[in-house]
């Protein structure tokens, strides 16, 4: 079954064609990495899939349902979650409050402004488990702005998973992480159930090749190569535009 189907997608900003006719087919349970030079259009493509930008032309289909014109929150309800290249958290709230907000939104629980956060017992339990999974068990009451950059990235992953999405879009999940933290995140991602489909942008080739079943290479808004690690490493065009001489 195809989890995500992108057909002839275009995104234009003024005279610039950031995405210029991209088609992708990602099978349910697949791990796909999207690589390419800086400015190739990777993040814009992510925005069009997640709904934070609307495509100028083309279609995006999620598990057979056309979501091309759906707003971002409706796509989230259809089981799509994403993380951002640049962290996107509530800096003045605590770690647990950030997780509770994400879990409440995902569970479709309306939060009452006059009720204390602690009274949402089941959400709390789920939040605590997520924090433990993502190495933040000791930090629930720390304000997010006081977390290190790496911890903020880990929290972002925990938030994306709070809603148990069917498809997860990861924008550079290990950027800014030390080797140790990066290895932990890779291990956590590898352990995720194959019921979840993952599309990720990643510049660390050890991570991209380590996690992905297949790799798509984007250059100037177009897919110029697609294949497994061996095919991509052997592709002379990919070496020239992205990897450099090995």
């Amino acid at each position: 079954m195809t989890a995500l189907e992108v057909r002839q997608l275009y995104k234009r900003f003024g005279g610039i064609e950031a995405v210029a006719g991209v088609s992708l087919d990602i099978a349910a349970g697949e791990r796909r990495a999207l690589i390419g030079p800086n400015g190739a259009g990777k993040t814009t493509l992510f925005h069009c899939i997640a709904g934070t930008e609307l495509a100028s032309a083309g279609t995006v289909t999620l598990f057979g349902k056309d979501i091309t014109r759906l707003p971002a929150h409706a796509r989230a309800r259809s089981g799509l979650a994403r993380t951002f290249q640049i962290t996107n958290l509530f800096p003045l709230l605590t770690v647990m409050e950030n997780v509770l907000l994400a879990a409440a939104a995902a569970a479709d629980v309306g939060l009452a402004l006059v009720k204390s956060m602690a009274s949402y017992g089941a959400l709390h339990e789920r939040g605590a488990k997520l924090l433990a999974d993502w190495g933040l068990a000791e930090k629930p009451s720390v304000q997010v702005r006081h977390l290190s950059y790496g911890e903020q990235r880990q929290l972002e992953l925990a938030l994306a998973l709070a809603g148990e999405p069917r498809i997860l879009l990861l924008d550079e999940p290990t950027a800014g992480l030390s080797a140790a933290e990066s290895a932990r995140v890779v291990g956590m991602l590898q352990a995720l159930s194959r019921r979840m489909t993952i599309l990720m942008v990643e510049h660390d080739m050890d991570v991209a090749f380590g996690l992905a079943d297949r790799i798509s290479v984007l250059h100037m808004g177009r897919i110029v190569a697609e294949g497994d690690e061996r095919a991509i490493r052997a592709d002379p065009q990919v070496s020239e535009i992205y990897l450099g001489a090995q």
């Binding site: 290190s148 950059y149 800014g176 510049h203």
Partner: protein
């Protein structure tokens, strides 16, 4: 060139740097390694005056800069490539570079633009419209056009494609041969090993190890203990 002596820095009650000392000599590339959350960025912020230390002393070319405001420290010749792409989002690429450019020194606008292949064709785009990696390139270019005597780089390779990371390495080598000192906070161990003259490893707010890249490459026990690799 830079001397950091027994520096203690707090965020409110949080005791982050617990007595850090290190030194950077003229024309030297010094890397700081360590896991996330050990205080590397706080050290950079202490040096440039954004989060001054509560105790200890920081000297730059023999002048005490411990309590100077950030803009004065910048004017003395310390450049910063901050972590996380802090460019002026509403200014164009050209404006980002010209507002900070200073005449004296080898790094003219044209020379710097040669180093970052994406920037010349984006000169009229607002900083906020660049891709993440392009913003990182702009942050690097902006630090260079100030013609710093010491350049602090906080994870300059983050978000850059492998080919551009290699070019960034060439920039660091070029800085070094022009006599500029570089203090490099870096997560990519391979990159640090290739370009640094000396390495300090931090853990829990302290410098716990000091060695040459060669020694670190050969010392699996230290790598595993402090870097987890």
């Amino acid at each position: 060139m830079l001397s950091v002596q027994d520096v203690h820095t707090y965020y409110g009650d949080s005791y982050v740097l617990q007595g850090v000392s290190l030194e950077v000599k003229p024309g030297e590339v010094v890397a700081i390694l360590g896991r996330n959350g050990v205080g590397k960025t706080t050290l950079v912020r202490s040096i440039v005056g954004l989060t001054p230390p509560r105790r200890g002393r920081i000297a730059f070319r023999d002048a005490d800069i411990t309590r100077l405001p950030a803009h004065r420290i910048a004017r003395m010749g310390i450049g910063l490539v901050p972590q996380g792409r802090r460019v002026f989002r509403s200014l164009t690429v050209r404006e980002n570079l010209t507002v900070v450019a200073r005449g004296e020194g080898p790094w003219s606008l044209d020379k710097v633009l040669e180093l970052f292949p994406n920037l010349p064709r984006r000169l009229r785009s607002p900083g906020g419209k660049l891709s993440g990696g392009e913003q990182q390139m702009l942050a690097g270019a902006r630090a260079l056009v100030t013609n710093p005597k010491l350049l602090l780089m906080d994870e300059p390779s983050e978000g850059l494609a492998p080919l551009i990371v290699r070019e960034l390495g060439n920039v660091i080598d070029a800085l070094k041969s022009s006599g500029t000192a570089v203090l490099l906070v870096e997560q990519q161990l391979r990159f640090a090993l290739r370009h640094a003259d000396r390495i300090y490893i931090m853990s829990k707010g302290r410098v716990v190890h000091h060695c040459s890249p060669r020694e670190l490459a050969d010392d699996a026990a230290i790598r595993s203990r402090y870097l987890g690799v």
